[in-house]
């Protein structure tokens, strides 16, 4: 089974801090995704990576950056955390074939105080 591991289930940070969310997958997937999930809004794509060091902006990239130095690891960075970034963050991976499903981690519930 594919396993996608997010480094923290719960995280509390203060406004202005630089926050790192880590995600690791064990299936050699090319594609990795970061979403945020808010009530009533579903999942919104923040960033996508299709290969090492390659990234594409999603629908809501403002205030975020990403890093993919190794194929199995995709990091989401909040450059200067703000209270409106309090949310559930979900990482997913998928193989090269677009007709494969995405595999999700358990999510990180991030609170910015």
């Amino acid at each position: 089974d594919v396993k996608v591991t997010q480094s923290s289930r719960y995280l509390v940070k203060r406004t202005g801090e630089k926050v790192f969310l880590e995600c690791v997958q064990d299936m050699d997937h090319e594609n990795m995704f970061w979403y945020r999930q808010d009530p009533g809004l579903g999942l919104r794509l923040i960033y996508f990576s299709y290969d090492v060091k390659m990234k594409e902006k999603g629908d809501i990239p403002e205030g975020y950056s990403v890093s993919r130095e190794k194929k199995e690891r995709f990091s989401l960075i909040l450059e200067s955390a703000s209270t409106n970034q309090t949310s559930m963050y979900l990482c997913a991976s998928r193989g090269f074939d677009g007709n494969q499903p995405q595999h999700f981690g358990d999510g990180t519930r991030l609170s910015i105080l």
């Binding site: 594609n31 809004l41 579903g42 677009g98 007709n99 499903p101 995405q102 358990d106 999510g107």
Partner: protein, 110 residues
């Protein structure tokens, strides 16, 4: 705007009953996927149906796809309390993006 929109937003049924959730989308798609999310957890993939397929089954799950109406339905038969979760449809139209709807919250009463 959301590509996939689920209906109803919430559904409450008794154990043993069938649950039907619907999804509508706006543009042509390559495939449509259904996912399940237990409270506070990540999404788990249930079924993927390609645009040239009309129906797919997996255990107690049945998914239909009507591309002429741009709609899909997920049927869970003989529901159990453990089926209580949120269910999301997601569509892939091409490129890298998969667009998720806001989900249907299903509550199965024991």
């Amino acid at each position: 705007s959301q590509q996939g929109e689920e209906d109803p937003q919430a559904l409450s049924i008794q154990e043993g009953e069938n649950a039907t959730m619907n999804c509508s989308y706006k543009t042509s798609i390559n495939n449509l996927q259904w996912y399940r999310q237990n409270s506070g957890r990540g999404l788990v993939h249930l079924i993927l149906i390609r645009s040239n397929e009309r129906e797919k089954h997996s255990g107690r799950l049945r998914v239909t796809l009507d591309t002429s109406k741009k709609s899909s339905s997920l049927l869970i038969t003989a529901s159990r309390a453990a089926d209580t979760a949120s269910y999301f449809c997601a569509t892939r139209a091409g490129g890298f993006k998969t667009i998720f709807g806001a989900g249907t919250r299903l509550f199965v009463k024991a």
